[in-house]
């Protein structure tokens, strides 16, 4: 077989020659490039946010390295492996979530961590951000789409179970992301826009009722969203300071390391959930817009890859993981800008802290695996 024939025999045809070497590693070059750019950008911002603290910076650098490794590893598996093991992973995840509620470690008033002998301490809820789209992909894979009502109900139940278990930890942020991951798959499965519209409408109608189920501090956060000045030194502090940080940055920002809100410690959580405020303050509208553009490229590429997948499982899993990533971005920035109540959701690949970065990058590893493995 000539070289020419070999190239032709590849499913996606021409243009892949120069990417061949990366394809051998089951990586998608555009996606990889933009992800690495975002991580680099994030490290620069973080370096400023932690006030040039080498220790914290190195720790984050190592985590990012681990996240890239997680992506590389996840990309090597054959998609059929994920398809086969999806239910097992899901059931295992549910089991771990139950275990967390029974024997988990309590940190800052919520029980999220599992300390199993021989393993580093970890949050099983992170696993569910991947397990849920995989499970739904597996479930809907050989069903006719758009799903029938029966299948839709089962799908929603598959989402509600882990999401509920996470929310009662309580970890509303992760619970919402797990739900977002599952619901993305459901939406992508072709449920009619009318039903989606109805669901959104009924959710809006039910929302006031949900109020009663929110914990005091959560109610406080919602009230604060509408009027941060009601308790400017307490619940309103975070949102007032983050809006002030972003707004005072203007178009071009105060300059890296020059943000007074973050460096004088007015901005809380400036290294973690509120890091976009540091971007806004120090690099201005230009800096935030650049980051948003990078995120948009990742999401576009993800959705494109989803459309290229050969089967339902591939399409739904890639699309679901991509939209989960989008949910991260949107909820985090909307929260810091004062458009949504404060929930604990980090800015993907930028916020300090490794767990979500590793999960996200492992997710993109799966996306690349699905994209680069052919003939399954």
């Amino acid at each position: 077989m000539s070289n020419q024939d070999f190239v032709r025999s590849l499913p996606s045809g021409a243009g892949l020659v120069r990417q061949r070497s990366l394809y051998r590693w089951h990586l998608d070059p555009p996606l990889l490039l933009v992800l690495l750019l975002i991580m680099a950008y994030g490290l620069v911002v973080l370096y400023s946010a932690v006030d040039r603290d080498q220790t914290v910076f190195s720790a984050q650098l190592i985590r990012m390295g681990m996240a890239v490794v997680a992506m590389l590893v996840a990309a090597q598996f054959d998609p059929r492996f994920y398809l086969r093991w999806a239910p097992v992973l899901y059931v295992l995840g549910i089991g771990l979530l139950v275990a967390v509620l029974l024997v988990g470690v309590r940190v800052k008033g919520s029980q999220r961590w599992l300390d199993l002998p021989g393993l580093p301490r970890f949050q099983p809820s992170e696993l569910m951000k991947i397990a849920v789209p995989l499970m739904l992909g597996w479930y809907l894979n050989d069903r006719a789409l758009p799903p029938r009502f029966k299948h839709l109900v089962v799908s929603l139940a598959l989402i509600a179970l882990p999401a509920g278990l996470v929310i009662i930890q309580p970890d509303l942020g992760t619970g919402l992301l797990v739900s977002a991951a599952g619901l993305s798959v459901v939406v992508l499965s072709g449920v009619s826009w009318r039903w989606i519209g109805l669901a959104v409408l009924s959710a809006a109608l039910v929302a006031p009722g949900l109020w009663l189920f929110l914990k005091d501090y959560q109610q406080e956060r919602v009230l604060t969203l509408f009027d941060p000045e009601r308790d400017p030194l307490g619940a309103g502090w975070n949102i007032i300071q983050s809006k002030t940080a972003i707004g005072s940055g203007g178009v071009f920002g105060k300059g890296l390391f020059e943000g007074t809100q973050s460096h004088l410690e007015f901005l809380p959580e400036s290294q973690t959930d509120f890091i976009i405020a540091v971007v806004g303050e120090e690099l201005g509208l230009v800096g935030v817009a650049a980051l948003l553009l990078a995120y948009l490229v990742v999401i576009s590429r993800g959705l494109y890859i989803a459309t290229q997948a050969p089967n339902t499982f591939g399409r739904l899993v890639v699309g679901g993981l991509t939209l989960t990533f989008f949910a991260y971005v949107f909820v985090n920035i909307a929260m810091v800008c004062g458009l949504l109540p404060v929930v604990g959701i980090p800015l993907p690949l930028v916020s300090y802290g490794g767990t979500s970065a590793i999960t996200l990058m492992a997710g993109f590893g799966i996306v690349m695996a699905i994209h680069t493995h052919r003939g399954w």
């Binding site: 005072s248 203007g250 809100q261 007015f266 999401i299 959705l303 939209l323």
Partner: protein
């Protein structure tokens, strides 16, 4: 799975998915568009607002207390200045456990209950966040060093040096100059919160209180860049405070010392006034207290001892002590009798030591009366009635005068009111009249009341300051000049706002003035004439004197003994003794000093208060006479 396979239309599903993915892409674009719009709103539209807010966040305007104006006496002696002290303060916001910290600090420096009490009170009060709250006001050198060494393990603890009020003369000037005390919650109601935002002490008594506004100055500001925990990162700009105005007083420290020395450790008061200007030269109230204790703090026991002492050292007798004037009132009665035409210099009466109102049984006695028919001054005219201080003569005059006319005349000398320009807290005393008596006691005015008031007893009350003022008016032959304590200068403090001048005493001929003053000179100088012929004070102060002094003594019955109080016999006796008064001015023909002396429970006016007056006037006049 046959059903599934049958219904699955793979190309159609692929197309459907692509459409759906495209739809979601639109949703993503819309969502990110919303975020972008929001960012434009915050960073472009509302930029200015947030920029300002961010600056307000980081830039704290810190008030700087102005240095308090200094107080000088007429010769430039410092009566109140500001000295640096090192204060231990705590920023409670930076302390995890206040109780633990206080225990730690207690091991390093001595913390009294009073320190802790005051600290708790100041902590509870509303204040700006991250404000350092004083815990111990004066640290010793050793304590400063100990704290410096241990500072690293005491976050939130600060040692600040600042200027605090200091009174170099301590107790000597305490009553007249007053003192500052720590600003309390009650003070904050009356003080301008902006102007006093950095001020810790406010004038509470005396000059410090009256001239508070001028002495205080204007607050300054420091614009500092602070972090969210209130720590100053850098100082951007300073707007210095405007120091308080210096105040020069008419007081003469040398004379004050002479007056205090003359009084010794007896309870009483000396108020001396320059009759030409009304300026107060000396104002002593004894016993006194160290005003510095109110600045640097004192123990609960110290305060209890001061405020509970029977000798009331915190009480300013000079302006708030109200006593019957006794015989010092007689010159005024004499002038009233002349003015109202009920007597003349020529009229004589026979004083046998007792007086009885027509148709009444009660006997009013002369001061010289000891046992039946042993007293009395014999044949007495007005002149003799003054230098012998004949009660019977004045009983008679009193009984002749219409009380309302009399009160109207006496009021011209300032009885019953505070005539001083800048001594706001002085008491008014009491010049009783029938209307007052009916209102206060529900009784009509009896003829006996005329008799009592004619020798300065009854309900009549005066303060030492008022009697010094009377001496001043007498020295000026009826010309009024209000007493004052501020030495007039180019640019007087705004508090110095003289009320309209008081009308001079009317109805007395010039020669009557001279005759009266001559009689008062006789009180001091008429001597070597034999028993019953000398001035009452001559034996005590009239010898070896090379200037002419006009004076009048007073000896006052202490009527009031508070019921139900327990004190030992000796003390009971002491506090039952008569009060001794002496008013005087000199030189008689060109008065340069007029004064009143009070010795509480001292005994005879001439024998006890007279020598004090002589010593004070000597101290003032002799150096001047020596110069001539």
């Amino acid at each position: 799975m046959a059903e599934s396979t049958q219904l699955k239309d793979l190309p159609r599903e692929q197309r459907a998915f692509t459409r759906r993915a495209l739809g979601m892409f639109v949703v993503v674009l819309l969502a990110l568009g919303i975020l972008l719009l929001r960012l434009v709103q915050l960073q472009v539209v509302e930029y200015q607002q947030y920029r300002t807010r961010s600056d307000e966040n980081r830039i704290q305007v810190q008030p700087i207390a102005p240095p308090r104006g200094l107080i000088f006496d007429r010769n430039g002696e410092l009566l109140a200045d500001n000295q640096p002290v090192f204060t231990l303060s705590v920023v409670t916001e930076r302390v995890a456990d206040l109780g633990v910290l206080l225990t730690q600090l207690g091991a390093l420096v001595e913390l009294t209950d009073r320190d802790l009490e005051g600290f708790a009170k100041r902590t509870a009060r509303a204040r700006r966040p991250f404000e350092a709250i004083p815990l111990k006001v004066v640290l010793s050198e050793t304590e400063i060093a100990t704290l410096a060494v241990n500072r690293y393990r005491l976050p939130g603890v600060e040692v600040q040096d600042k200027l605090v009020r200091h009174y170099p003369f301590g107790a000597l000037m305490a009553h007249v100059v007053g003192s500052v005390r720590r600003v309390t919650v009650e003070d904050l109601v009356n003080l301008d919160p902006v102007s006093y935002s950095a001020t810790e002490f406010v004038g509470k008594r005396g000059v410090e209180r009256f001239y508070e506004r001028s002495l205080h100055g204007e607050v300054g500001y420091r614009h500092a860049e602070i972090d969210a925990r209130g720590r100053v990162r850098s100082v951007l700009d300073t707007e210095p405070p405007l120091a308080g105005k210096n105040i020069v007083l008419t007081l003469d420290v040398g004379l004050q010392i002479a007056a205090q020395t003359a009084l010794g450790d007896r309870r009483g008061s000396v108020v001396a006034i320059d009759p030409r200007t009304g300026g107060v030269l000396a104002m002593v109230s004894s016993p006194s207290y160290d005003p510095n204790l109110f600045v640097t703090g004192m123990t609960t026991e110290q305060y209890a001892a001061l405020s509970g002492a029977r000798s009331t050292p915190l009480f300013n007798r000079a302006i708030n002590g109200q006593y019957a004037p006794g015989s010092t009132f007689k010159p005024i009665v004499a002038l009233a009798a002349l003015s109202l035409g009920v007597t003349s210099w020529e009229e004589t009466i026979v004083d046998r030591g007792t007086f009885r109102l027509p148709g009444q049984d009660r006997i009013y006695r002369d001061w010289s009366w000891r046992k039946n028919n042993s007293g009395g001054q014999g044949v007495v005219d007005l002149y003799r009635a003054i230098y012998r201080s004949s009660n019977v003569y004045f009983y008679d005059m009193g009984s002749r005068m219409d009380i309302d006319d009399f009160v109207q005349f006496a009021a011209q000398f300032g009885y019953g009111q505070n005539t001083a320009i800048d001594i706001a807290q002085a008491s008014d005393g009491l010049l009783p009249d029938p209307l007052w008596k009916y209102g206060a006691k529900g009784e009509p005015w009896y003829p006996g009341d005329n008799v009592n008031i004619s020798i300065g007893q009854g309900d009549l009350l005066v303060t030492p300051l008022q009697l010094a003022t009377v001496a001043t008016v007498l020295a000026n032959r009826g010309r009024w000049i209000r007493p004052r304590i501020y030495q007039e200068g180019e640019d007087p403090p705004i508090e110095f706002d003289p009320p309209p001048p008081l009308p001079d005493v009317a109805g007395i001929e010039a020669e009557d003035w001279e005759r009266l003053i001559d009689a008062m000179e006789a009180v001091v100088h008429r001597g070597n004439r034999g028993f019953g012929q000398n001035g009452t004070a001559w034996a005590y102060i009239g010898r070896n004197i090379n200037y002419r002094m006009a004076g009048k003594s007073g000896t006052v019955q202490v009527v009031e003994i508070r019921q139900g109080e327990e004190y030992d016999e000796e003390e009971l006796e002491e506090y039952q003794r008569k009060h001794a008064w002496f008013i005087a001015f000199a030189p008689a023909d060109d008065p340069q000093i007029a004064l009143s002396v009070l010795v509480e429970n001292g005994g005879g006016g001439s024998s006890v208060a007279g020598p004090v007056a002589r010593e004070v006037i000597d101290a003032y006049l002799l150096p001047q006479l020596a110069l001539k």
